[in-house]
């Protein structure tokens, strides 16, 4: 998976360090957080690195406050990041909704650990996939990305910032304890080689600015506080001016526009990778650290002459419905290994529309899923 080239800037980085590195490349200038395993190294790196470039770090009194501070800093013009794990992610939900409804760019890292509650602080899990989608209340869109290597943590952190700025939305980066803490070689791209997207600014004078009137792409230009555009931000459903509305047409249009802003641009946001899928009769669909094991399973299975391939999801939400639907028409069987009791498999079943068998393979004992057990599952299923 790592196509590292010689002569480049190669570093041995921990996953969380790579996240911090990616954030810095993307232009992060503010971090607010509260310590929690297995995410704390991101905060520690930010505390050290941000002031060197004139950025700001603050350790808040809890995750609710951290999420609030991140939103405030973003409104005042800084690219902002926070990082946490399950219990903290729960606390962030209300203000995450505030960022969504007010279209405030920011990136939220969830280094997943076993749950519910305090759960398994130092063991990996993929138990928060549906929380990422529906954790905050109400109909809302979300973007969530899930890297599976340390190198991908770096590149997807940059992507997360870019999506958040482009679509004016919070983006969740889903790590798990394994990739957050493992060390791998990472190629640090040169600044001139990476694409950095910044929020679009209004082109009209302040008197004409309508802070929540979308352009054709569904995204309204964003004036930062302090730039001479005086406007109101509220968690209430609001009109183009940003003022609360109880007009049912305005309400309906607002909620749908918010949702479609992400859904209609899904093609731009959805990223995945395919391994040996061209002639596959059995597909594995995996993400995060489990995708590493699944990739190895594909090799082992191919050695046995089994036509197995892998669809590795990098974008979790919005979900790649069409891709999976097509795949279900091609293969006889989809196996979905996950470190949870079956979360993304629900979405995959929905997308497969009964066109092939969809089988979950789950572990919730805090142990990583290994390639051999996935291979065992394949053998077991083809006998059926």
């Amino acid at each position: 998976m790592n196509n590292l080239k010689k002569g480049k800037n190669i570093k041995l980085l921990q996953g969380n360090e790579a996240c911090a590195e990616g954030a810095l490349l993307a232009g992060v200038r503010f971090f607010a957080g509260y310590p929690i395993t297995p995410s704390s190294e991101i905060a520690e790196n930010m505390a050290r690195e941000l002031p060197k470039i004139g950025g700001k770090f603050i350790q808040m009194e809890d995750e609710i406050a951290s999420m609030a501070a991140v939103i405030g800093a973003s409104i005042a013009g800084l690219k902002s990041l926070t990082a946490t794990s399950g219990p903290g992610m729960c606390l962030k939900q209300e203000n995450l909704g505030f960022a969504i409804i007010n279209e405030i760019p920011c990136v939220v890292v969830n280094a997943q650990r076993g749950g519910p509650s305090t759960g398994l602080p130092t063991k990996p899990s993929q138990g928060d996939m549906m929380q990422a989608r529906w954790g905050t209340h109400g109909d809302h869109p979300i973007i969530a990305l899930a890297p599976s290597t340390v190198h991908e943590i770096l590149t997807l952190t940059i992507k997360a910032f870019n999506f958040s700025e482009k679509y004016r939305t919070p983006v969740i980066l889903l790590l798990d304890e394994v990739i957050a803490h493992m060390r791998e070689k990472v190629e640090i791209p040169a600044l001139e080689d990476i694409e950095v997207i910044n929020r679009k600014k209004p082109t009209v004078p302040p008197e004409e600015y309508l802070p929540f009137k979308p352009d054709e792409d569904g995204v309204p230009p964003m004036a930062n506080f302090g730039e001479g555009y005086r406007y109101h931000i509220t968690g209430l459903i609001h009109n183009y001016k940003g003022l609360p509305t109880s007009n049912s047409q305005e309400i309906d249009a607002f909620i749908r526009r918010l949702y479609n802003k992400i859904q209609k641009n899904a093609k731009d946001i959805i990223m995945n990778e395919k391994y040996f899928l061209d002639d596959a009769k059995i597909a594995l669909i995996a993400y995060g650290s489990v995708a590493r094991a699944a990739e190895r399973t594909v090799k082992l299975a191919r050695e046995e002459g089994l036509k197995v391939g892998l669809l590795k999801l990098l974008t979790i939400w919005p979900f790649c419905f069409e891709e999976v639907n097509k795949l279900a028409q091609q293969v006889d069987l989809i196996i979905v290994p996950e470190m949870n009791l079956g979360q993304m498999v629900l979405e995959i079943e929905r997308a497969a529309q009964g066109k092939c068998r969809v089988v979950p393979y789950n572990r919730v004992d805090g142990e990583l899923i290994n390639p051999i057990e996935i291979l065992g599952k394949i053998r077991e299923e083809i006998k059926k």
Binding site: S66, G226, T234
Partner: protein, 275 residues
């Protein structure tokens, strides 16, 4: 005739949502007059609030403004101020907003001494949700969730702010808007975390449940329960019971958080980027 107030309000938001006789409008007036006295530029002011009747104030002022989530105005404001210390950030909260759900944020904002001005409209009740008791409801008074009288002891927000590390602490009332304006003005002008509690009236909930049906009854009551700071210091503990001191309690100089962070930036940059 155009008044000072017209200069600063968002006309599109009027008429306002408050009940007749509600004290929130008096506080809005006091804030605007204080800002006008200071001659601040509207473009450099950010008004942040939480959730409650009082927190709706930010919708009515023609600044950059934010009606955030219940109790969380201070951490939102902290992010804004950290990101752009040149902005003048005013935070308006209700008593429930600030002292119950937002109590932890309040003591930490004071501890950091971040340069924000917190104005708490203390109507001693959860107004917006229909009159449930708050941490500032006096013991023995009634609320919709305290039908037999409140057994909780209430906070003294001013003492709490002083103990937690604020730079400026004062209390005024809607009975005396002139004094409130002057206290707010001093608080706005003060570097560091400033707190002004304004005792206000909610005739609809607090008044109705505590035998003060009219706004006038409530204002008279506010007059009766408050004593100047100077007179307060001469009262015995028994005489102080059920009363509130008003005036300025503290004005001290301590480096504000954003200044201290500038020092961090200097240190980090001087060390040449190695750790």
């Amino acid at each position: 005739m155009k008044t000072v107030i017209d200069e600063y309000i968002r006309k599109a938001m009027f008429p306002n949502m408050w009940c007749p006789g509600c004290g929130n409008g008096i506080v809005l007036g006091a804030i605007i007059r204080a800002i006008d006295d200071l001659g601040w530029d509207k473009d450099e002011i950010v008004a942040v609030s939480g959730i409650g009747c009082s927190s709706r104030i930010t919708g009515y002022v023609d600044f950059c403004s934010m009606n955030t989530t219940h109790g969380r105005a201070l951490p939102f404001a902290t992010g804004i101020k950290m990101a752009n210390p040149d902005l003048k950030v005013i935070v308006v909260m209700g008593d429930g907003d600030c002292s119950a759900i937002g109590g932890n944020h309040f003591i930490h904002a004071a501890r950091r001494n971040i340069d924000l001005t917190a104005i708490i409209i203390n109507n001693m009740i959860y107004g917006m949700t229909g009159g449930q008791y708050s941490p500032l409801t006096p013991t023995g008074k009634f609320g919709s969730t305290a039908p037999y009288g409140n057994i909780d002891q209430s906070f003294d927000l001013a003492e709490l702010a002083i103990a937690a590390g604020a730079s400026y602490v004062a209390r005024g009332t809607v009975y005396n808007p002139r004094q409130s304006t002057s206290l707010i003005k001093k608080a706005l002008d003060k570097k560091g975390f400033s707190v002004v509690e304004i005792i206000s009236d909610c005739p609809v909930s607090y008044g109705k449940m505590n035998k003060m049906k009219s706004p006038v009854d409530m204002l008279k009551w506010i007059k009766d329960i408050t004593v100047s700071k100077k007179a307060w210091d001469g009262l015995s503990p028994d005489e102080k019971r059920g009363k509130y001191a008003i005036g300025e309690f503290l004005s001290k100089d301590r480096p504000d958080y954003t200044e201290l962070y500038e020092e961090i930036i200097k240190k980090a940059q001087e060390s040449g980027g190695n750790k």
